[in-house]
Each structure stands twice: as structure tokens, then as C-alpha cells.
């Protein structure tokens, strides 16, 4: 085991999978010589060459559309969208095409592609380099949506995504890329898509999160622990398919639930988690299902004070934990 950053986990997964299977093909803007704007693909171009690591034209719909076509003809494309904010032009190709290839052909065709994109804020990205987009895609049947929060998972889940027979949206929190370090097992492993991880055991409050927010929740949980509030933190890891069992089992124990995400509140994926708890976990609930999320403004401003004001952080989360525990 060695301590690595989250982005190293991503890079290792790509490299190992490209070694393992020569059908794996990386494409995107600046993924080649430059190694990607975050250097997620650094060294991959020099190792595998232009035929397997393609700097595409600046056209997101084309990137995903070409990936779909290439998958139909035997490649396993891993497309990088430079920022999640710029995935919107590819919305149609992802939602109406990739997600439905198998369904609409009644199983005659399939679409094993991965679409990777860095998301999230707190890096002075402004309105167009900070967005969270997971809620859009988690609403679309036919897509899997994966968001790792640790280097180990980044590697294991990306490997699973590349091996998955269906399209996987793989979102990487850009602030977590270098901030989050952790042990990465030596040797080959794959982390199955579809199971949440309980990152911290607790008995009073269930706190559900994904991506960087998991770490904020853990910090908040530590902050309230001395006050006698015991928080269980669940890292969803994959939003679709969603591990409802782990969530509901925890709520059964704690009777209090909250969801935390960076995306704006209304219609965020937290709504789905809250709705499931309010339905399937109702009989166990002793308090309102709470959400901590970005406010309903179009996106996160560039300037520091407003960026700060937008973002959920350990203090804001801890305050919500206290309120919930005291209900």
C-alpha cells in the first residue's frame, strides 16, 4: 500500500486498463501531449501513442458521439470532458443515445463507454468551472453514475467502469484531485459499482454524501462527536445504481437522516435520497429529513466571498447535524 492522491488513482486505473486491454481508447480535449488540464492522463500519451490517446477537436457532442460509434465497432472508449460544466453540449448524445443504445435495440447493441469529467467547486472556477452535474444524469435510466471520494475508490471504480458493459458517467471532484490522499492497494483490484461505503459508524444521525462532501461530513462528524452526537457517514460512491439498502439500514439505526451535496438544492440528487428515506424509512424516522446543499443560484461565483458563501463546508454541515440531533 502506498499513499496516493485521488488523481493518481484515476491515472493508474487508466494506465492499467490500457495495458490490460488494447481496445481501451482515451479521447478528449488536451488529453494527449498536455496530459489533460488536470494531468489526469499525464504520461499516457507518451506511453500509448496518438492512436490510443486522441486529442479531439473542441466539440463535446462529437466526443461522446464518436465514443458511442467506436464502442459499436469494438473499442472501449474512455472520453474525457474537460470540465463537467462543458458536458451540456453532449447532453443529447449521452441521454438520448448512449443511455438507450441497449434498451432501444432490445439488446441487439450495447454501449460500453465511460465519460469522465471533473466537477465541483472551491477552486476559483467561477460560474463555468465549478458545476455539479450528477443530478441530471442520475435521473436517466440506462446510465450508471459514479463519484469516487478516495484515491482507492477512484482507481477501483474507474477500472470497474471501464469493464462495465454499459455507459458509465464518472465524475471526479476537481478539488479532491490533489487534496484527498489515501492508501491505494498494491496490485490489481476492482471496486464494484453499486455499493455505498460506510465511512464512519454512528448511532444518532445518518449523513449521506458523495465526492468531496464526504470528507466535509467526516470532519463535521468529528467536530460534533465531543458533544455526544454520533454521526454515521455514508459515501454513496455510485448514485446510479443506488445502494438503498445501506442507506435504509443506517436510518433504521439512527432515526435521523441528512443528505449533503454541493449541487444546488432544488432537484439535486439529495431530493431523491430524501424521498427514498421519507418513503421506505418513514417508520423509523424521528426527525425531518434534512438537506444541506448549495443555494438555488445558477452557479458558484468566482469571487472568494461568494464562492465561500455558496459552498457547504464542515461548519455548515456540523450546524445541521446539531440541529438534527436536537430535534
Amino acid at each position: 500500500m502506498a499513499v496516493k492522491t485521488l488523481i493518481e488513482g484515476v491515472r493508474e486505473a487508466l494506465t492499467e486498463e490500457m495495458e490490460r486491454d488494447d481496445r481501451v481508447w482515451v479521447l478528449g480535449e488536451d488529453v494527449g501531449k498536455k496530459g489533460g488540464v488536470f494531468l489526469a492522463t499525464e504520461g499516457i500519451y507518451s506511453r500509448f501513442g496518438e492512436a490510443r490517446v486522441l486529442d479531439t477537436p473542441l466539440a463535446e457532442s462529437c466526443i461522446v458521439g464518436v465514443a458511442i460509434g467506436a464502442a459499436l465497432n469494438g473499442l472501449i472508449p474512455v472520453a474525457e470532458i474537460q470540465f463537467a460544466d462543458f458536458i451540456h453540449p453532449a447532453f443529447d448524445q449521452i441521454v438520448s443515445e448512449a443511455a438507450r443504445i441497449r434498451y432501444r435495440s432490445n439488446g441487439d447493441y450495447s454501449c460500453p463507454i465511460v465519460v469522465r469529467a471533473p466537477f465541483g467547486g472551491g477552486v476559483h472556477g467561477g460560474l463555468y468551472h465549478s458545476q455539479s452535474v450528477e443530478a441530471f444524469y442520475a435521473h436517466v435510466p440506462g446510465l450508471k453514475v459514479v463519484i469516487p471520494s478516495t484515491p482507492e475508490d477512484a482507481k477501483g471504480l474507474l477500472k470497474a467502469a471501464i469493464r462495465d458493459p454499459d455507459p458509465v458517467m464518472f465524475f471526479e471532484h476537481k478539488k479532491a484531485y490533489r487534496l484527498i490522499k489515501g492508501e491505494v492497494p498494491d496490485g490489481e483490484y476492482v471496486t464494484p459499482i453499486g455499493t455505498a461505503a460506510v465511512r464512519r459508524q454512528g448511532t444518532n444521525v445518518t449523513c449521506v454524501a458523495w465526492g468531496l462532501m464526504v470528507h466535509h461530513c467526516l470532519e463535521a462528524a468529528e467536530a460534533v462527536a465531543p458533544e455526544g452526537i454520533s454521526v454515521e457517514v455514508i459515501d454513496l460512491r455510485t448514485l446510479q445504481p443506488l445502494d438503498r439498502e445501506t442507506i435504509l439500514r443506517s436510518v433504521e439505526k439512527t432515526a435521523r437522516a441528512m443528505v449533503v451535496h454541493e449541487d444546488n438544492l432544488t432537484g439535486g440528487f439529495g431530493a431523491e435520497v430524501a424521498a427514498i428515506i421519507a418513503d421506505k424509512g418513514f417508520e423509523h424516522l424521528d426527525a425531518p429529513v434534512t438537506r444541506v446543499a448549495g443555494p438555488d443560484v445558477p452557479a458558484m461565483p468566482f469571487n472568494h466571498p461568494q464562492e465561500e458563501a455558496f459552498l457547504p463546508n464542515p461548519e455548515k454541515i456540523a450546524a445541521a447535524m446539531r440541529r438534527l440531533a436536537a430535534y
Partner: protein, 361 residues
Amino acid sequence: MSEEEQARTTTARQPRHAALGLSPERLQVMYRQMVLARALDRRMWVLNRQGKAPFVISGQGHEAAQVGAAAALRPGVDWLAPYYRDLAFCIAMGMTAREFMLGVYARAADPASGGRQMPSHFGLSRARIITTSSTVSTQVPHAAGIAYAAKTRGLDEVAVASLGEGSTSKGDWHEALNFAGVHRLPLVCLVQDNDYAISVPHRLQMSVDSVADRARGYGMVGTTVDGGDVLAVHEAMKEAVQRARSGQGPTLIDAKVARFTSHSSDDDQRRYRPQEELEAMLRRDPLERFRNYLLDETVLTDESDELMQQGCTQEVEEAVQEAQAAPEPDPADLGRHVFAQRLDSSVSGDGVGDDTWQSRR
């Protein structure tokens, strides 16, 4: 070849088809594909009027362009990313009348989608016809991706993207053609320009007479052909395929065709097209035109034509009978093929809406 034909070839000009390397037998096959497609298409409208086919979208008037193009391809090797008017194209690539009619009836055995999609939303892996949506132009980047994979994997395969002139206004078309040009992919883009996108006329769709004028900007060859002339289209396509297979990159073909029917069974083109225009158009039937050519060249006789027509009618009738009798899709299968594996956790929620579905899984 008949004696008369041989005489003619030796004494006078070489017939156009011979110059293209098309044998009389090949011509007969092509003609039959057109006849069959037309017969299926017409039958589909009858079914619509009978209330048996709730939705019809038609390829009548486009057959020469499609069959001419298909004749330059190798079924099972080359790929087609079709659109909803490509009935004749798909027939020529290997889809059967029965397979088509199963789609018209939206039967469980419909190979394109198991009755999930509207009719004429083609797809058949056996024939390398990719699955298509209704959203126009989305198939063009797919074709580019297929061509890229072929090139990078060293496969001798050509990908054809087929679409209407209106659909070239979409961003996806541009993005895909640009990509294909950059990588000199083995791709042919066949635009079937029938002058209308539903009711929107050519003049409001683009400012050039031929969309092939855009080829140069993508570093590719562009050709405009009379899409009512099966041999002209074939010639253009043959050259394009040669170019693709010899690593010389993609081609953009603009085939001028005629939309004989309304856009679909939900449309009435008399609302927006002048009567004279419609009449003039219907006088220019590509099928007639090919028949006359074949009769002239004695590749066909009135008798053999009659026989072929009958054969096609019968084939269509059999397809209709079979489709009519075939079972409808099972509601229990509503949840199949969302993913390769069924995921219990993706099946969620309350209410009978998805209880029904869940209960039968």
C-alpha cells in the same frame, strides 16, 4: 447478357451500367430491392388507413438513391447509420420484408427494437445497420466513431451515415464531418435532399443549392447527384467507397430526391406544398425511371417485371401475415435491457406505475 445487348455493346456505346461494372443480374437484384421497398412502403400506408399501423414514415421517391448507394457496399462488412427513410437502403443491406413488418406492427420479434421504437427506426446488427433514434443527425458522429475504430483497428470497413438535408443544419453533423475530415476516415455521408424538412423548404434550411458545397471546408470531396438516377448515385458512391477504402478519406454526397408522401402519417403536405409542385414531382418516379432503363437495356422485360412485382407483392403479403400473427411485446419485458445485468436497486419507487412492472420481473 442477351444477344441484343451484346450486339448493342459491341456495335455502339457501352451501357452505363456496364461501365460501372454492374452485371444485368446485379441490376435485377437492385431493381427488385427498389420494387420490394416500394411495395412494403405502400402496404404500410394501407395498414395505417386500416388502423393497423399507427405511425408511418416513408421512403417513396428516395429508393434510387438508397439502392444505388447500397450497391457499392459490402453487406455485413460495411456499416450503415441510417435514418427513417432508409427502407430501401436497409433492404439492400440485408433486412428482410418480414423483419421490417415486425417493426411496423411493433411486435416482440421486431429485430430493430422489439417493438419499442416507432416503425422505420432501423437497426440490425447482423447487417451492420446500427440502432437509430428519432433525434436527427445523432447517427453521424456514431458513423464517424465506427469509421475511426475501423481505421485504428486496421479493418477494411466503410461507414455510411445517411440523413436528410434538413438534418445537416444540426451541430452534430458539422462536428462529425469535421472529425472525419481531420482523420481522413473511411466514411461516406449521404444526404438525401428532398427539398423539405417536414414543411420547412430548402431556402429556409440553407443558403446553398447543394450541401455538398460544404465538403471542401471539411477537406473532403463533395458531389451532387441526381438521386432519382440509381446509376448516377451508384457511381458517386462507388467512387466514395474506393476513396474511403484506399485511405483517401471521407466523401459527402448530396443526392437530390423527391419526397412522394407527406412527411409522415401525421402530416399533410398539401398544407404547405403547391399542387403543381406535387404533381410535377410525382411524374418523376425513380422506380419508373429505372424500369424504363432496364426495359431499354432489355435487362428486364414486361413479363419478367410482372413476375418480379408479383414476387414482391407476395413477399410483402407473407410478411404482413406473419407480423400480424406475431405476438405483441410482453409488458413484463418493459424493464429488460436497461442494463446488461438487471439491477434491483435501479428498480425503485411506489405506486402501481412501477409495481406492475416490478411484479413481473
